[in-house]
Amino acid sequence: MEFRDNKAIYLQIAEYVCDHILLEKWKTDEKVPSVREMAVDLEVNPNTVMRTYELLQNKNIINNKRGIGFFVTENAVANVKSYRRGEFMDNELPSVFRNIYLLNIGFNELENRYNTYVKETFNV
C-alpha cells in the first residue's frame, strides 16, 4: 500500500479500516484482519497496527473479543462518520477555508458548485 507523506501511518491505516466499514466490505459483527495479518498486508510494524486498533477501539468502531480478535461494532458506521467528521473539521477544512479566503471565493458560488457536484456524483 502506498502511504501519503502528510499523515501519521497509524492514522492512514485507521482511514483504510474506516473506508472498508463505510463501503460495507466489513460489516457489523464481522471480524477484521488480525494485527499481524494487517501488518503483513500493509508491510508495516505490527505495533503500528496495534496503535490503530487501540484508536478505533476508543472510538467504538471495533472491539476486542478476548482471544478471538477484533470485530466491527454495532454502531460502527455512525461512529466512523462522527470520527471522520471531526477529522475533516479540524484538519482539512482549515486549508480549504484558507484558499477560499485567499482567492475571494463567495459562499453563493460554493453552494452552487456543491449542489452540482452532489447531483452529478451521487445522482440525488
Partner: protein, 275 residues
Amino acid sequence: MIEIKNLNFGYSKKKLLFKDLSMQLKAGHIYGLLGKNGAGKSSLLKNMAGLVYAFSGKIDVIGYNPAKRQPALLKEICFIPEEFYLPSVKIDSYVKANAAFYSNFDHNYFGDLLAEFDIPVDQKLVNMSYGQKKKLIIAFGLATKAQLIIMDEPTNGLDIPSKAQFRKIMAAALTDDRCIIISTHQVRDLDNLIDTVIMLDESCVALKASVEEITKKLCFKRIKELDDTVIYAEPSLSGYHALMPNYHDEDSKLDMELLFNAVLAEKIKIKAAFN
C-alpha cells in the same frame, strides 16, 4: 533483552568508537539503527553478538555475556552480516551442517521462506547471485527462531519485489518475545517497519526514541516560509520540509531522512525538544 552499560569500544585504544555508551533494548520491537558511515553501527551489532570485544563496560543479552560465546546464547542470536561467505554446497547440505546448532530450527518455516523469497533450491550456493545469497541467509536466520535478530543492511542487494517480500516477512516475524535490530542507510525501504529509532553519532547515542515519542515531540511539516520555531528544514519545490517542536499535538508522519539530517545538524536543539 539487551542491556549495554558504559561500553567503551574501539579498534585501537587511542581512538574509541564508543565512549560510555549505554542503552536498553526490549523484546517486541523492531529497532532501526542509523548513523553515518563509520559511526559504528556494524561494530555495535558485532558487540551484541559477541563478535568483537569491548575494552570495558557491560553487555547483557538475555542474561549472558555475548563475549563468552556460550552455545545457549548463540542459538538465540541470528546475525545477518552485510558481508558474508557461503560454501560451495547446495541448500540441503548447508542446512544439515548448520541447523543442528539451533535447537529450535523450524524446517517448515525455512521451506516457506525459501518459497516466498523465490530462492532456487537445487543450485550451489556459490553460484547464486548476491541477492539470492542474501535472501538465503535471511531465511536461514529467521528459521533458527532465535530471540534476537540482528541484521546489518538487510535490503542491500535485494530487488524490488524482494524488498516488499522482506517487509512482509519481517512484519510477520516480530513477536512479543523477539527483538529485531536492523541497521540501514536505506531508510525508505524500512521506515514503516521500524518502531524505534536509534541513532549513533560522535561515539554516543544521539537519539533513541520510538516513532510515537518522536512524533509526539516533533512535527514533520511542509511549510511555505521559515520561522524561528523551525529546528531544521530542507528546501523543496513548494517551500520547505521542516521539523519543528510539536506544539499543537499534531500527528505527522515521521520522515526518517529529515530526522537523520536534523540530528546531525542540530543535535542540541533536538535533545532539548526531548527534555
